[in-house]
């Protein structure tokens, strides 16, 4: 199972500008699997992404948007992308600011479908 996750994450990191991808337990923010470039702090990414997703998930539910299917934090020097995965997990990507978000999202969704 772990090897399968790894392969899926590796595919995502091939998208230009993606620095790393990881599968995280949404509830506690623990890393399930990761494929990261050197320098990317996996544990921090996992914890922060899980927390941010939870907060926006609650706001989206309150706003009648339904469950969050994609989250994108854009910053001056990078971006964080999150897609929910089965069994309460979330797929997280750390990328450059100018990453092709459409392509990264496509690969993330494919990966999630594979996980399911």
């Amino acid at each position: 199972m772990s090897l399968r996750f790894q392969r899926l994450l590796d595919v995502i990191t091939r998208v230009r500008g993606v620095q790393g991808a990881m599968l995280v337990a949404g509830e506690d923010g623990l890393v399930v699997a990761e494929s990261l470039m050197e320098g990317v702090r996996g544990n921090a990414v996992a914890a922060l992404a899980a927390s941010l997703t939870k907060r926006f998930g609650r706001a989206a539910e309150a706003g009648g948007l339904g469950p969050v299917s994609f989250l994108h934090l854009q910053a001056t020097d990078g971006a964080l992308l999150v897609v929910p995965a089965p069994e309460g997990m979330v797929l997280v990507v750390v990328a450059d600011a100018d990453v092709n978000v459409g392509l990264a999202r496509l690969e993330m969704r494919r990966a999630v479908e594979e996980v399911a």
Binding site: A62, H72, L80
Partner: protein
């Protein structure tokens, strides 16, 4: 009057089981001798616990003494023994009137009037309560209009922009509404819960961007199954939320959000200005 008290007292002494205590108690109450009136009323109630008039007398003494709550109970008791007791109906009308519950006051007084259409005290009480109810209604309408004006004022921040009142929300970092409005797909007002959940989102976004060395956060988009929301920070102390349904592509949402952010920023500068 003193002679009257003497006469009634003597009569009651001769016949303690009689109903003379009602007249004596009422005379003492009218003279302001409330302690004496209460003693007579209670003594009478001991002998006639199911007499509505006795409860009514004691209630009037209590009301004069300022114990409106207990008076209310006593009048309620009187009505249990005599549902059309005029004194109890008037008394409860008085209690509800002073509590600001005009509907209940009118109901009791109208029942009293139906029981005795010639009772002028009931007619006068009804006129007083109806006038007060009309004033209260006018005041409530004015307050509602004021609230509506306030909502209009809030919506004006984004006047002219698409979704100014249902898809654009400006809040401060403590979750308080500053402008715009937010409604979900069923037209339910969701501005306050959304604002509450988003309060602190900027700190969370800032912390995430800083710890992951992503620089300064610019905006966040959350896509849900029913629509999307775009969150940005027009100023250090505010958050702007743009909500759109699923039919709006994410690129168009971003362009619109950028425009709305500029509008919010201009409004904030104007407020500070």
């Amino acid at each position: 009057m003193a002679d009257e008290v003497k006469r009634l007292t003597a009569e009651l002494a001769r016949n303690p089981g009689s109903l003379v205590f009602l007249a004596l108690g009422e005379t003492l109450r009218a003279r302001g001798q409330l302690d004496a009136a209460a003693r007579i009323a209670l003594t009478g109630l001991e002998r006639h616990p199911h007499l509505a008039d006795a409860h009514d007398l004691y209630a009037r003494v209590l009301a004069d003494a300022g114990d409106v709550e207990q008076a209310r109970d006593e009048w309620g008791m009187a009505l249990r023994f005599d549902p059309k007791h005029i004194g109890a109906l008037k008394g409860l009308g008085f209690v509800h009137f002073h509590a600001g519950d005009f509907d209940q006051a009118l109901e009791h007084l109208e029942t009293a009037l139906a029981a005795d259409p010639l009772d002028q005290t009931v007619v006068q009480a009804l006129q007083t309560v109806r006038a007060a109810a009309e004033i209260a209604e006018a005041e409530a309408a004015a307050a509602a209009a004021e609230t509506e004006d306030a909502v209009e004022g809030i919506a004006d921040v984004f006047a002219g922009l698409e979704g100014a009142r249902q898809g654009l929300l400006l809040v401060d970092l403590r979750g308080r509404l500053l402008g715009g409005g937010m409604r979900d797909g069923t037209d339910r007002d969701v501005a306050e819960p959304v604002a509450a959940y988003l309060a602190g989102a900027s700190q969370e976004a800032e912390r995430t961007a800083r710890l992951l060395e992503l620089g300064t956060w610019s905006w966040i988009v959350a896509e849900g199954t029913e629509g999307s929301m775009h969150v940005s920070q027009p100023s250090d102390a505010t958050l702007l939320l743009v909500r759109r349904d699923r039919s709006v592509p994410s690129g168009r949402l971003a362009v619109f959000a950028e425009h709305a952010t500029a509008v919010a920023r201009a409004w904030l500068e104007e407020q500070q200005g």
